[in-house]
């Protein structure tokens, strides 16, 4: 199971946070601080995994943005790395050539995508098409969206 996902910039500015288990606010802040310092201090060409307490931290840098995913000890590190990668691909597909600014200004969209991709700390849907279709169908709803037509069409 995944425990949390953090996105932060090279300057250590948090861009997105998702906690899959309940954690008190103060603890969250502490973790965020620790993660940014730990990950940013890593030398290039080191491996993408870290030990932190009883968890494994998997991080990867895409352009100016660090993705940092905490998994439980027995989980598969390489697979977690691919989880990050798939999320980046999903963002890319949705925003079209995604950059940090897209995520800064539309962070709620990034959250929506994440919620379709991961749910409760587990993989929910790995297909780029399906996730995208879900997000877009919700995006397109109008205020007076009671018509059945939309739903039937959008959900295929």
């Amino acid at each position: 199971m995944m425990r949390f996902l953090l996105l932060f910039s090279r300057q250590g500015k948090l861009r997105l946070q998702k906690w899959f288990t309940p954690i008190p606010e103060r603890e969250k802040k502490k973790i965020i601080r620790e993660m940014t310092t730990m990950v940013l201090a890593r030398q290039p060409r080191s491996c993408n995994f870290l030990h932190w307490k009883d968890l494994k931290i998997i991080y990867k840098r895409y352009a100016s943005l660090y993705f940092c995913l905490a998994i439980e000890n027995h989980e598969n590190e390489l697979l977690a790395l691919e989880v990050i990668h798939r999320y980046v691909e999903l963002l890319d597909k949705y925003f079209g050539n995604v950059c940090e600014l897209d995520i800064i200004f539309n962070f709620e969209k990034a959250y929506f995508i994440l919620d379709e991709f991961l749910l409760g700390g587990e993989i929910q849907e790995t297909s780029k098409q399906i996730v995208n279709r879900c997000i877009e169908s919700s995006d397109m709803l109008q205020e007076d969206d009671s018509s059945e037509w939309y739903e039937v069409e959008l959900f295929g």
Partner: protein
Amino acid sequence: MSDVVEKTLTALPSLLSLDSQPGSAKLSSTSKLGNLIRGITELTSKHEEEKLIQCELSSIKEQVSSPNTTMRQMKELMVRTIYCEMLGYEASFSYIHAIKLAQQGSVLEKRVGYLAVSLFLNESHELLLLLVNTVLKDLQSTNLIEVCMALTVVSQMFPKDMIPAILPLVEEKLNHPKEIIRRKAVLALYKFYLIAPNQVQHIHNKFRKALCDKDPGVMTASLHIYLQMIQENPEGYKDLTASFVTILKQVVGGKLPMDFNYHSVPAPWLQIQLLRILSLLGKNDQSTSVIMHEVLDESLRRAEMNHNITYAILYECVKCVYTIHPKSELLEKAAKCIGNFVLSPKINLKYLGLKALTYVVQQDPKLALQHQMTIIECLDHPDLIIKRETLELLFRITNAQNVTVIVEKMLEFLRISKDDHTTIDLVGKVAELAEKYSPDNEWFIETMNTVFSVGGDMMQPDIPNSFLKLLSEGFDSVEEDRKLRLFAVNSYISLLRGEPGKLPQRFLQVISWVLGEYSHLRADLEPALVLRLLAKLLDMKNCSSETKSWVLTAMTKLCEGGSGVSVAQQVSEAYGSSLDTVLRQRAQELQHLSQDSELRARVLPRGAGLEPVEVDSSLSFLDGFVSEALAAGAAPYKPPHQRQEELAGTKALSLEPYGLSLPISMSSCITDRQSPTLLSMSSGLSGDSTDLSHKGGSATLKLDGVKRVWGREGYLSQKEPVEEPAQVEVPSPLRSPSQQGEADSSHSQTPSLTPTPESDQEKQQLASSLFVGLGSQSSVCLMGKSEPTTQRFRRKAKGHSTASSTSEQVSNSVISPPSTVDNLLCNNLLDSNITSELAVSSPQLTSRLSQGLAATNGTCDTDTELPESDRKESKPAVIRDSYVVAADPAPHEDPDRPKDLDLSSHLPAELSELSHSEITHLCTNQNLELSVCHVQKEDSLLLIVFISNSSDSAVQQILVQVDSDELEVSCLGDSPVEEVRSHSVAVCQYSLTVKRPAVHIELVGMVSYQLPVGSPQSAAFSYKLPLTSFIRPLTVSTEEYGTMWLAFSHDTKQNLTLISDGQEPLTATLNVLKKRLQLHVVEIIGMEGIVACRLLQDQPCLMHCRVHAGTLAVWLRSPIPDLPDCLIYHCQRALQGH
């Protein structure tokens, strides 16, 4: 989903020109959020940012509470609030508005509302209750998107207590025509399973349906639940193995739709999930493993592509192959795979290779040999993570020959590591290895010195504990013990002469204890000198008061001789007025004992460490004091862990690693002269507590000791050092030097070593020292064939198991007597489900013949005279109350006697209203039949004996004698029955009172009678009834309970299983006990409950229950010996049967 729709989807946003269309990121930067974000990026200082955000938040606050704000504006405000929270500024005022937005907004607004809720709150937040209704409504919505949103939020967080409210709706969604809804519903159920498994127990068959869903996505989602369930109970799902194998085969074979591919690898997440499930199912199970061999082979073969994801699958495959029942062919392939990982230039793969190797090396140590050069390289890798993983691997292959090199490497790492968690972990491992494989005293003490200095005050408290235990218990040879202790003393003296200020507190405590105990071993050492060194510690600024009390205790042991006493006097004067009461106590002890050497010799006898000390574990000598205090209104004592639990109850999940459930105060464990593990706790049946406390009086009364013991299991919970890895290699036997040389040379000949320049020479040397003992001959013993003989510090076998924690010991000693009783009784119950046995006495033998004769004469049964219908109606008296049935002895089922004796109609009228046990056939002799039942009256237990005569003639001079060792039997009624006419039934009543409690009470009896013709006859019988028949509720108030509790001397303690069927476990369990055993629940306070009952007549038994670590810790007390033990047995049975 057709392509047409796909196109419509991409075309629509541009038509509708919504602000949220894909790729329109920069557009929204003109919004207020955009302004805020830009504003913040332009700022230069943290202070300015804070000002800006506070300003922003107050403006948001104003707007959200304004009634004129529309939902659309609210949505925009909420997004800004999320942003502020992400920057670390609290905006709790908005939480309620987020819920409102989810409640009232249109779909788009609702979505933001739900998102805000899921980001702001967690599942224990009280506001979440307000969301339940919204979720309920949305789950029933016809709009699929609303349903999706509701399911999403439910899977992320939902108040545990409210699950039943929405469970039926979520279940219903499992049949929804849209797969996305089904998938989300399955994930929601998975979440419920994790947080409240018993709530979803009834829908396990629906999980199966989800597993068979035609949509692979839904099936994949259901695997989360299965993985969890199989982890908990692999036995229960073996039948699904073939299905999982088939699914995996199809996935590997590329039968899934393209949608599920990831970089042209078919459904990797699904594959890995399945591999994990298979390894759980195949573990230690050959027949199940065989089913999966083929598909594992195929997985290994197919995963060839050079991509991370295929390596991830391969890694999982390798793990699976090594977990299930081994097949050499597969193992070979898996080993090759690991080789590819380890040798890969990609650092991530190398890491995973090391991890795999660590996992595998337990079974196949030779694999480590194959890769020794790579391992050596990894040991010097610049990346600490790789280094750390390598040490983990080395830890697994440590043996007596390579221990010094490996420990050296670990200590090296410890000195550069800055991460606390790593330090704690590694220090524990070093200590474990040192204790297990230490080659000599010097090395051991020095290694432990480093452990203590580096581990400092972070390390697990059991490390110093077990070190001291090891020193004090000694080993097989007295001389060796002396040497080791002497070496420790020497080493510590020189440390104290150096710079003791740099040493961690824990280490100082260890040093003072050892010096206090063993410095006399060094003859040339003046005690006064040691005293002065110790006194210097007291003056150090950073010396904690805990350490000071250790030092003072050590000084108390050493203060003798003229100059020694004067140092002691100085110190005791300085601390005699300390504000710290513990220190003051120690100082007082020091002062008095230094002056009275005779008393000191008695209180702190030298070398008495091995004498077991008896301790009154229940501290009953303090009972009077406690009851006085309670009467004066003091709060009842709660053990520290319970206080913590109560505090932590409100907190959410803590990520703190290795959190011990209770803090172990070192001082409370070992400051006594005797090592704590030598305390042999007196049995729970402490009759006279004062006696025992005198026995324990050779140790001084410790105030902190009182605190620690009072909490029953709450104290002294020391764990053994890091759990020894199961099936880790056992150390190879010591080899003679010549053999060792052989081994070394054989290593230098290993083919992987090619002649190399000088720098590599070192590596080779290192390799040979690291991998010594892993060669072929030792691999035999690694498989566990030879006994480990090298373990230097083998603990002496002691009568009372000293190795495990004392608290366990206590519970064991208390439990063991009743548990053997249990076994015996269980056997009995199994052997004879018949509670009454017919013992044929000698006159009976002759009577058998006559019975045969009588049968030929054509006698008919009494029963046949009653019409069938009549019999059914005449049964009103049998009240099958659940507890009566439960308390009943097993019904007598004799296939030869299928006819139900309708004797209940013969019950005396005044008893027919009461519940009675099933009527049991006792014995038949010729035409006379004896049956029996018991009736539970409020104040007594009656035994009813039915004598039915089925012969044509009357039976006379009947005499029924009932007797029991445990009971007092008195006959009721005017006069005992003397005659039973033909085809009729007579009834005798006996009142029973318990003299001596037993788990089951047996009655034996004899009936003698005279037939009109022939000699006197007799038959013996026996009848067993459970003690519970004699138990009645005892209604007392909590205060009365308190005074009674202290007055009773016989007690027993045990942990029982908790029952939780939906309600709060304590209440549920007590309810079961109440129902089954007729106990009276006096009061339930938080996690504790007090229960009272009495044994007829008026012999009370009190029960104190506390929920602790998932079990119910029960403490029974009674004035009657054996009653607590017997009752606990029935409690156990009642809970088991539930």
